[in-house]
């Protein structure tokens, strides 16, 4: 029989060791599954590492995936600290992509590139922010649970994208495929490395955003109010903190960053609006934010690791003909072990014998 006793405080040693052991254990669990699938785990892990970090190109592709994760998770670190559980980054990402793409597709073609791109990014950010403000308002005025509201708004955003792709925004020459016309060069966010790398200046957006969010949380009045609010809403109200305003602003920042991620990825990497715009990054980023302990700077590192797993996953699929599902198994095994590890860091676990009497 296991006994759990809450720890008063967690030793630093455990804070470092437990996550490392958890990841190793997760990899081990993943290996067992792979053995059942008759694949050599070592070769798979080797391929993942090679696929993610093997060359300058593969690493840059890893970063391509990491960029939206960094942007989104930075915002999530902020709202989650205020106990506003926005799981609608996917929808906010899509709305950002749609709003920004509107200018790319229907804006004045002669607009100078820097101006057009700036406007696209701004519009995408606003689109994502509005999509996050809706549930924040619902929560503020009618106490609607934000988890459900943001989740459902994901579906609405997805279907708006579908509607546009099968409807008015579909390119006449796409032979019926749900694709927009390709973005003109003016509307493409610049890439920063020579082809074939698709890494783009969104990387800097992400790093700057993570830094700014960190400063907001640690150094500003707004961040302090948010932390008080997240830890203890009653104390916050008594201290005269405007709870609604704080949550709405935080939600807008988080949604805005997700929207920015959406339009940046669409404009720089895809260069076209389509049904599949990798909006599931909105979910992966939730994991990144939590694993990072809601610290946006740590979230940068975690985002890169999760991106590596994803990029490496594509690789093993291609090179080793292993189903991509294996990557999902590894990813979930690691996550489960990390979550289980949390218990060890917060509780003292001991084994006891069941009494016989």
């Amino acid at each position: 029989m296991l006994r759990f006793e809450k720890r008063d405080k967690t030793p630093v040693r455990l804070r470092v060791l437990v996550p490392i052991c958890s990841v190793l254990l997760g990899l081990f669990v993943g290996s067992v599954v792979m053995l059942f699938a008759r694949v050599n785990p070592l070769r798979v892990y080797g391929a993942v590492v090679k696929g993610a970090f093997g060359s300058a190109y593969t690493f840059s592709e890893t970063l391509v995936i990491a960029v939206p994760l960094i942007l989104i998770s930075a915002g999530l670190c902020l709202v989650y600290r205020m106990k506003f559980f926005n799981i609608g980054a996917k929808g906010q990402y899509i709305m950002g992509a749609i709003c920004g793409s509107y200018l790319a597709l229907f804006g004045p073609a002669t607009m100078p590139r820097p101006l057009l791109l700036t406007l696209m990014m701004v519009l995408g950010t606003i689109g994502g922010a509005l999509w996050a403000i809706i549930p924040a308002l619902l929560k503020a005025y009618w106490n609607v649970n934000e988890v459900i509201a943001t989740l459902l708004l994901n579906y609405i955003a997805s279907y708006i994208l579908w509607y546009l792709m099968y409807g008015t925004w579909r390119d006449q020459r796409s032979h019926g495929f749900p694709l927009s016309k390709s973005f003109a060069l003016n509307a493409q966010l610049p890439r920063i490395l020579p082809a074939p790398s698709r890494l783009h200046i969104g990387l800097f957006f992400g790093l700057v955003a993570a830094g700014i969010v960190w400063i907001i949380i640690r150094k500003t009045r707004f961040g302090y109010e948010g932390r008080v609010l997240g830890e203890n809403e009653r104390a916050a109200r008594y201290a005269g903190i405007n709870v609604f305003k704080t949550i709405i602003i935080a939600a807008a920042i988080s949604g805005g960053l997700a929207g920015l991620a959406g339009i940046a990825h669409t404009s720089a990497v895809l260069r076209i609006l389509q049904l599949e715009i990798n909006s599931d990054y909105g979910y992966t980023a939730i994991i990144a934010a939590w694993l990072a302990g809601l610290d946006p700077l740590v979230a940068v590192g975690v985002s890169v690791l999760l991106a590596a797993l994803e990029a490496g996953g594509y690789q093993i699929q291609i090179v080793m003909r292993v189903p991509f599902g294996i990557v999902g198994v590894i990813e979930s095994a690691i996550l489960f072990c990390l979550l289980a590890g949390e218990i060890v860091t917060h509780y003292r676990v001991s084994l006891t014998r069941r009494l016989t009497a």
Partner: protein, 508 residues
């Protein structure tokens, strides 16, 4: 010498360590059959830890437990229940939305798939009749008064066949009359041969109800004595380790002008039930008005209304002549209303933020602590240092979460922060609950000091002794109204008790 055969329970050399503290340090405890045994000690003396060991919640690091001659191994409350131990916690373990029956059979293994409510109801009634009280088995818990809920807890343990009952500070939520009734029930149980452990830090009730008393101090056993052979003063010395002041020095009142006026206030509680029923009260500068009453009669809501945390649906509140009805907490703070909430970590402090970040909560918007949108953490730190020094707060690490501080130091910090605002009106809600004697004295002295400076103090407390000691006037609250206001110098405890129970109306 007592023979082994009449001992119900023996705890030998119980030691329980928590990080940084010996909660129980080789404690011995013996319980006879058919006795009421009081476990006395200050907060933090290790009473609850020892009883949690007996209830299987904690497992001791050392020591053994013997029940009726057999050594037992108690790993969970279920194990303890099987050995006939039942604990009634200070915070009741009842499900509000379920009926008495459903609560009683909750967690009972012997119940089959189908629940025969009728037979359970019959057995509940039989237990109640045996001990001369009544309870409706079909009532939902939330409909019952606190005293009735406590009886449900007692029935629950008896229903499960408990022969050893542990009651953790059972009178803290009762009126003096209700406490007497409880003592009657306990004496009845004793005559049935049941053994009762009664945890308390109130000397008076321990003297009146127990047969023997075991005193703990700082995790150590101070001794076990026969109640008949000891005086209250000796007991207090055993418990605290020095002579205690039973009276606080206080000067005569110089009542100033009216600071707080509440007129016909009406407000709902969290359940949507009217908690304040046209309540009126006034507090003047330089006086302490104590609000006495059994928990749950609207005291919390009153404090919340005055501090802007709860919405008034009727009536008016004015502070120094200015209407502040339903003003925001922020406005009220600038009007000079400060608050020491009952729930220190729930309302007053933010547990996971540091001492500095908690200290600056009332000051961070001021110019001295901000640079644009940024907070000047250097200034905040210096400010916190000032408070820590002035109020002698023991803070091991300024940047560690405030929740690691002891209860007394948390309360000091809270008090320091609020008093530093130079309040006109101070609302103190159970300000000494859970504090040790030293901190309690400090808090009470600080309140009196504030009074002497002309601050109007509204003291809400369940501890009648505290109110008698500190307050100038006593307002008794019952079902959302002030049913009477008496001068503390001519207070009659029996009279106040009856008012608390709603038996006597206003006699002002």
């Amino acid at each position: 010498m007592e023979g082994q055969e009449q001992l119900m329970l023996v705890m030998n050399n119980i030691t329980k360590r928590f990080p940084g503290i010996m909660a129980n340090n080789h404690v011995n405890f013996a319980l006879r059959k058919g006795e009421i045994h009081a476990l006395l000690g200050e907060n933090g003396a290790g009473k609850s830890t020892l009883m949690n060991v007996l209830d299987g919640i904690y497992y001791p690091d050392e020591g053994e437990i013997v029940i009726e001659g057999d050594r037992v191994d108690l790993r969970s409350p279920l194990d303890s229940m099987k050995h006939g131990i039942g604990m009634i916690h200070q915070h009741f373990m009842l499900v509000d939305s379920l009926s008495v029956i459903e609560n009683v059979i909750l967690g009972l293994e012997s119940q089959g798939f189908y629940i025969n409510k009728k037979s359970v109801a019959g057995r509940i009634k039989a237990i109640a009749t045996k001990y001369n009280f009544r309870v409706d088995p079909y009532a939902k818990i939330w409909q019952l008064s606190v005293g009735e809920q406590q009886r449900v807890e007692i029935i629950k343990t008896l229903f499960k066949g408990a022969r050893i009952l542990i009651l953790d500070e059972p009178t803290s939520v009762l009126t003096p009359q209700e406490s007497e009734e409880l003592f009657g029930i306990l004496r009845e149980m004793k005559s049935e041969g049941k053994s009762i452990i009664f945890i308390s830090h109130k000397l008076g009730e321990v003297m009146s109800v127990s047969d023997r008393i075991t005193v703990l101090r700082k995790g150590r056993l101070m001794g076990t004595v026969d109640t008949a052979s000891i005086t209250e003063r000796e007991l207090a010395k055993m418990m605290i380790g020095r002579d205690v002041l039973f009276r606080l020095e206080r000067g005569d009142i110089e009542q100033g002008r009216e600071v707080l006026r509440v007129e016909d206030a009406q407000a709902y509680n969290d359940r949507g039930i009217m908690a304040l029923d046209k309540l009126s009260i006034a507090v003047h500068g330089g006086e302490i008005v104590g609000v006495a009453g059994v928990a749950g009669n609207g005291q919390v809501e009153l404090a919340e209304c005055i501090t802007g945390l709860r919405h008034l649906v009727g009536g008016h509140i004015t502070v120094e002549g200015i209407d502040v009805t339903n003003a925001s907490p922020c406005t009220l703070v600038s009007a000079g209303v400060n608050y020491i909430p009952a729930d220190r970590l729930g309302v007053g402090l933010v547990p996971n933020l540091s001492t500095v970040e908690n200290a600056m909560l009332r000051k961070y918007k001021q110019k001295s602590m901000r640079r644009g949108t940024f907070i000047d953490y250097g200034a905040a730190c210096a400010y916190a240092d000032g408070l820590i020094e002035k109020f002698d707060i023991a803070v091991p690490l300024k940047n560690a979460p405030v929740k690691v501080l002891s209860g007394g130091n948390m309360q000091k910090l809270l008090l320091a922060r609020e008093i530093d605002e130079n309040p006109r009106l101070l609302i103190a809600e159970h300000p000494t609950r859970g504090l040790d004697v030293g901190a309690t004295e400090f808090v009470r002295k600080t309140l009196l000091e504030q009074r002497d400076h002309g601050v109007a103090v509204l003291l809400i407390s369940e501890d009648l002794d505290e109110i008698l000691m500190v307050a100038d006037r006593i307002a008794v609250m019952y079902e959302g109204r002030i049913v009477g206001i008496v001068d503390a110098h001519h207070a009659d405890i029996a009279q106040i008790g009856l008012m608390m129970a709603g038996a006597v109306g206003a006699k002002t």
